[in-house]
């Protein structure tokens, strides 16, 4: 077992590697974590998620943009791939599940991939359907996984139009599920017009919105 000090040191170094997108370094620290016997879950949550949180802040304050975020995500995955097999499954899990995908007719998945990294880093289970996803597939995947939130991405107005058709399809099967939409052409007005629950203009905001919705859902269940 690694000492508390060692664990803290690993966490601090992993945060740093993610924030400064040192891919090889992140992988090395992850391996060191496993070898030292430190708790993989703690290191993941505090090191990786903690690091991505700082990345989100930098994105918000315009210090980072897409290129840096992509690289940070890369460092994140390099470490996560090593740590994941050693994380003991958390009963119940504190975070929720999302179905995520790019609309049919659209192959632009950069935004979706950043969302995925940030969500996974903060402990969400992400069911990634990829890009150019047929409408029915979203409905099926939501039912199969009983996910809390369906997140739809569209980068073109032409593929965005499909969201209008899809939302009633999902809500018909499961009225409680929350729907978040995002992508270049999407605005508050789209949310209202298409009957979605919310939108976010970047990944950190998407995470915040998702947390809020999850909160509402869980409170609803408790009541």
């Amino acid at each position: 077992m690694a000492t508390k000090e060692k664990e803290q040191e690993l966490i601090r170094r992993l945060q740093d590697a993610v924030i400064h997108y040192k891919v090889a370094e992140a992988k090395k620290i992850a391996e060191e974590t496993v070898a030292s016997g430190a708790d993989a879950y703690t290191v993941t949550m505090e090191g990786l998620a903690g690091g991505m949180e700082v990345v989100s802040e930098k994105f918000d304050s315009h210090e980072y943009f897409v290129p840096e975020t992509l690289l940070c995500a890369k460092a994140l995955y390099a470490a996560l791939d090593v740590l994941k097999p050693h994380i003991k499954v958390q009963a119940g899990g504190t975070r929720g599940q999302v179905v995520l995908g790019v609309m049919q007719g659209d192959v632009h998945d950069l935004g979706k991939n950043i969302i995925k990294a940030i969500f996974e880093a903060s402990g969400w289970t992400v069911h990634d359907l990829g890009r150019d996803v047929p409408l029915q597939k979203f409905v099926e995947e939501q039912l199969k996984t009983d996910s809390d939130i369906v997140m739809l991405s569209a980068m073109m107005t032409t593929s965005m139009v499909g969201i209008k058709k899809l939302i009633p399809m999902i809500k018909e099967k499961n009225p409680k599920v929350k729907i978040m939409i995002g992508g270049a052409p999407i605005t508050e007005k789209t949310v209202e017009e298409y009957g979605a629950d919310t939108t976010a203009d970047n990944a950190p905001n998407a995470l915040k919105e998702a947390m809020k919705m999850l909160d509402t859902l869980r409170r609803g269940k408790a009541a």
């Binding site: 315009h62 897409v66 290129p67 192959v107 632009h108 998945d109 107005t157 032409t158 270049a184 508050e188």
Partner: protein, 653 residues
């Protein structure tokens, strides 16, 4: 119930049904109002002032109360801009009574400076349309042969033309024309196969119109088919602009208005073409009917909409066009007013997002016949690239979006009077000097330059200069540590650089470049650069021999500025050539030489289309290319222009 709406300063007026939006009413009455965001309640550029009171001269009483109520979103957008009274957003405000609407200068779609001048082309004359003068023997009771057969015989004897068809519209007039002209006529023959016109006497005039339908601007070149000379050039805004600024928003318009959308858009461009044909022919002293043929280039969406083909399917993956090959169709089939039996030749298409305009560029620049490797970059509202030489050519489309042209930019505008078009920034003082379209002098920070906004060429200039002066970091972040009062946090806490102070403008506010604008440019130029890179990799190339920059807008870009921001890979700037509106040149070439039409069809099918988004590492390459000039790639040719530490080159001590 109908209400009267009057627009000022244009003075256009009309009756519109209750609940029409002001923007729709403006469209119907031909009043140009900016609607950059496509009626999404985002850009706030369509704001108009509602005049209050009774206007007896106009015969109406106008009131804010004659409009649909304000909702929160509209208030939010309006607030962001300014607090002037009686302002509304034209896109979301519905008419409930008579109103007089003033369109402020900043909201007007100005008369654009369109510069799609005809370039020099070299092509041997072999037009599809030719004129033949013949004299026919008079008929008599001994020789009662029909008029058409008589003409046929004469044409065969005099010119060796055989087995001709005749268009029924020409046939309907044939008997009268022959008799009126004492059996001496000039016959217009298309493709040596069909008579499309018969004119009395000897007529030399043989003209055609080559048209480039751009997403934003259209250009027509009235061309003498006997000499190849351009006898009149006519340009205009694409009138479809009022339905959306870019291709995708117009396709979406068709999708959302299933019954009428496509027809409306088609009708709009045809009316535009008719106006163009009329003006061009009158300018040269002819009538539109004298135009015997028209050749057209345009991107795939413009092509489909013109032909009334639903563009929906080319607008979504896998982006399949309805057809690739060229189309020939009679002018009056769609109500295009040139010679009714005249032919409309629409050039072929390479792929969903590489259209007939790109084929036009190819037959004009002929990279497929060159030994040296050409990288052809056509920058319009979208960016199309072609790379290769006579052995192999590949193409791709980059989703640059319209940011490079000034859309999606806070103070972006089209190249119209009042637009800032050139920018220099002193790296020491961080003070800018700029030039405005319509004036020759450089700004000094004091004089009122009547500036209204920033056009595409200046956007690239200003970003490049901000980077060179250290106002922008390599990753695009505005450097708040700059010692200049021009670098500041804007109202919403977003960093910005003041390019023109309020007193230098005609819009009564500072013109700034903010962090979001920089991000939009980073995305656009990253798309272009990564496209170049992936194409070069595909062909196993590390460099190219010539970089041909096409497009009317392309010609206005400063090549040093373009390289500083990293729009394309590093190269010797001598390799950069501006080839002007090559798409339009291609349309002229096709008009003048039928062999070139064949070549266009062949090359359109030969160019291999690369779908960038499907490249496994596209997102990574795209991301890296968003930095200035690039995250990793070296830019040795910028040595001396930029500090060495941003050029990714090994530094020697």
């Amino acid at each position: 119930m109908n209400h009267t709406i009057i627009f000022q300063p244009s003075g256009r007026r009309g009756l519109v049904p209750e609940d029409t939006t002001i923007l729709d009413a403006a469209r119907r009455l031909g009043v140009g109002i900016e609607a950059v965001c496509g009626e999404q309640l985002v850009c706030g550029k369509c704001r108009v002032k509602i005049m209050e009171g009774s206007f007896p001269k106009e015969g109406i009483t106008s009131s804010m109360a004659h409009l649909s109520g304000l909702d929160e979103k509209e208030i939010k957008v309006l607030k962001r801009k300014d607090s002037d009274e009686n302002l509304r957003l034209a896109c979301s405000t519905r008419i409930k009574g008579d109103v007089l609407v003033f369109v402020p200068e900043a909201s007007r779609t100005g008369k654009q400076v369109v510069s799609k001048a005809a370039g020099k082309i070299r092509v041997s004359l072999k037009p599809a349309v030719r004129k033949f003068y013949v004299e026919l023997p008079h008929p008599s009771l001994d020789d009662p042969l029909g008029d058409f057969e008589r003409l046929e015989q004469a044409l065969e004897e005099a010119h060796g033309l055989k087995k001709l068809r005749i268009d029924f519209r020409a046939l309907q007039r044939l008997p009268d024309v022959l008799r009126r002209s004492d059996w001496k006529v000039t016959v217009t023959v298309w493709q040596k196969a069909e008579i499309i016109r018969v004119e009395a006497g000897k007529v030399e005039t043989n003209i055609g119109l080559a048209v480039d339908i751009g997403t934003t601007t259209c250009a027509g070149y009235l061309t003498d088919l006997n000499t190849g000379e351009v006898i009149a050039t006519e340009s205009m805004m694409n009138p479809q602009v009022r339905y959306g600024e870019d291709v995708m928003s117009r396709i979406t318009y068709c999708m959302l208005n299933e019954e009428t959308g496509l027809r409306e858009l088609q009708q709009t461009i045809i009316e535009g073409l008719n106006a163009m044909a009329k003006q061009a022919s009158h300018k040269a002293g002819f009538t539109p009917e004298d135009i015997s043929e028209m050749t057209l280039v345009g991107n795939t969406a413009m092509h489909h909409i013109l032909l009334g083909i639903n563009p929906e399917h080319m607008g979504v993956a896998p982006f399949t066009p309805a057809l690739h090959q060229s189309v020939d169709i009679k002018a009056d089939r769609f109500g295009i007013h040139i010679l009714p039996a005249g032919n409309i030749h629409v050039l072929p298409i390479e792929a969903g997002f590489v259209g007939a305009d790109n084929v036009g560029c190819l037959i004009a620049d002929v990279p497929h016949k060159r030994k040296e490797i050409t990288l052809l970059v056509d920058i319009g509202t979208n960016g199309e690239l072609v790379l290769g030489n006579r052995d192999k050519l590949i193409s791709c489309s980059c989703a640059t979006g319209p940011a490079l042209e000034g859309a999606q930019i806070e103070f972006g505008m089209r190249a119209a009077p009042g637009a800032i078009e050139r920018v220099k920034i002193d790296p020491e003082t961080k003070e800018p000097a700029y030039k405005v379209i319509g004036s020759n002098r450089w700004s000094d920070g004091e004089a009122n330059m009547q500036a209204k906004g920033i056009c595409g060429s200046a956007i690239i200039d200003v970003i490049a200069e901000m980077f060179r002066a250290g106002i922008l970091r390599k990753n695009g972040q505005i450097n708040m540590e700059c010692d200049s009062k021009r670098v500041r946090k804007g109202e919403k806490g977003v960093a910005e650089y003041v390019l023109a102070w309020r007193h230098e403008t005609s819009i009564d506010q500072d013109i700034v470049v903010n962090q979001k604008d920089v991000r939009a440019i980073q995305l656009a130029k990253g798309a272009l650069y990564s496209g170049c890179l992936i194409m070069m990799r595909r062909l196993g190339l590390t460099q190219f021999d010539r970089l041909a920059v096409a497009g009317a807008f392309g010609s206005h870009i400063d090549k040093v500025a373009a390289m500083i921001i990293g729009m394309f890979p590093d190269c010797d700037l001598k390799k950069v050539k501006y080839i002007g509106n090559a798409a339009g040149d291609g349309a002229r070439i096709a008009l003048l030489n039928v062999d070139k039409r064949k070549e266009a069809n062949e090359i359109a099918r030969k160019v291999e289309y690369v779908e960038l988004a499907l490249e496994e590492d596209f997102n990574d390459r795209f991301g890296e290319a968003m930095q200035f000039p690039h995250m990793f790639d070296p830019f040795p040719h910028l040595a001396g222009i930029l500090p060495p530490e941003v050029l990714n080159i090994e530094q020697h001590v």
